[in-house]
Amino acid sequence: MNGLQLVVNYWRVAVMFAIGGILIYLAIKKEYEPTLLLPIGFGAILANIPGSSAIGEHGFLTILYNAGIENELFPILIFIAVGAMIDFGPLLRRPFMLFFGAAAQFGIFATLMAALYLGRLHGVASFIPAFTLKQAASIGIIGAADGPTSIYVSRLFAPELLGPITVAAYSYMSLVPLIQPPIIRMLTTPEERRIHMEYQEFRVSKTVRVLFPILVTVVAGIIAPISVGLIGSLMLGNLLRESGVVERLSRSAQNELANIVTLFLGVAIGSTMVAERFLQPSTVFIILMGLVAFIFDTAGGVIFAKVLNLFLKRKVNPMIGAAGISAFPMSARVIHKMGIEEDPSNYLLMHAVGANVAGQVGSIIAGAMILALIH
């Protein structure tokens, strides 16, 4: 290796250390998705130390990657844990909210197209990447606002982009309180933001709570069999929770399983952020496209609610549409806070939580549909 190569290599290593450091800083000081960003940041540092024994054939990070990401095991286990944590009650009490969970997936598909059109500029400026359809779909899935779904889809479609896609997905999820309000304000009038929505307490039977995860798995599985791993694991976790007879398993899934797998998943993702692969122009575009995805998600949800209002007698507050993304519970909190700011007597929390939970179902269905349509 000549002197110039050495300088370039060390410069790249220094940048990757800085990126790892920034992720650790965001996790500790800003508490942005700390359970993921902290291990990812440290994993990135471990992977970029010159001659690191943590990566390579026998490195523990490589072993973790092969054991849990290469074969999709970690995202699946995370889905079981997440399923055990989700209370679908607010959605089951207001099934109508399912439609907001669909509308707010608009960002996924809009970003997929934006990434493909970006490739048209590759001829004009060669540093602009020409993404393939699978790569564009993996970038679009950042708009699912759902980390495990992003990892699952991008590992299958574009493993070379896994690092930046995961970092973008988790970073923007934590930035929802900053991203959504300006978009919502831009698309709604103060009068619309002041619309009250009546809340009626409505009980859901245990039978429905137990049948719901089974029903979703069977319906989605029949329509898109490739999604069974993705949706089935989430719904298995939820069934453990709702059955009421395997409390120990449910608690283990929510705590021990979630914590251990999150740790392994984080460092293993961090290990993919080696300088040669991560410091590419495509990384910058993926980070930008991630923001586009969240903006279009929010806009899609709000505009859908406004269109619905043209036909509904009892108007919905269009801000509820923005809560249809999967970032739970941040998005619901944002909407509730904005409602209170506009009118202190306007409590939108329960409606927003319903839409937010619908977003968790919607995002995973969207991931499944992309897998089915492109695979």
Binding site: L98, M113, V208, G362, I374
Partner: protein, 42 residues
């Protein structure tokens, strides 16, 4: 088919499918609620 045309197809069908699946779930859920209403022990 080029990437862009394929992208439009995937995006269009994908978004409609998400709405379709959730619409199906909505109706199934309503039916379930009617068949199994909440009782006191719930």
């Amino acid at each position: 088919m080029d990437h862009i045309a394929e992208g439009w197809l995937v995006s269009g069908v994908g978004l409609l499918s998400v709405f379709g699946v959730l619409l199906l779930l909505y109706f199934m859920l309503r039916v379930l609620m009617d068949i199994f209403p909440a009782k006191d022990e719930d």
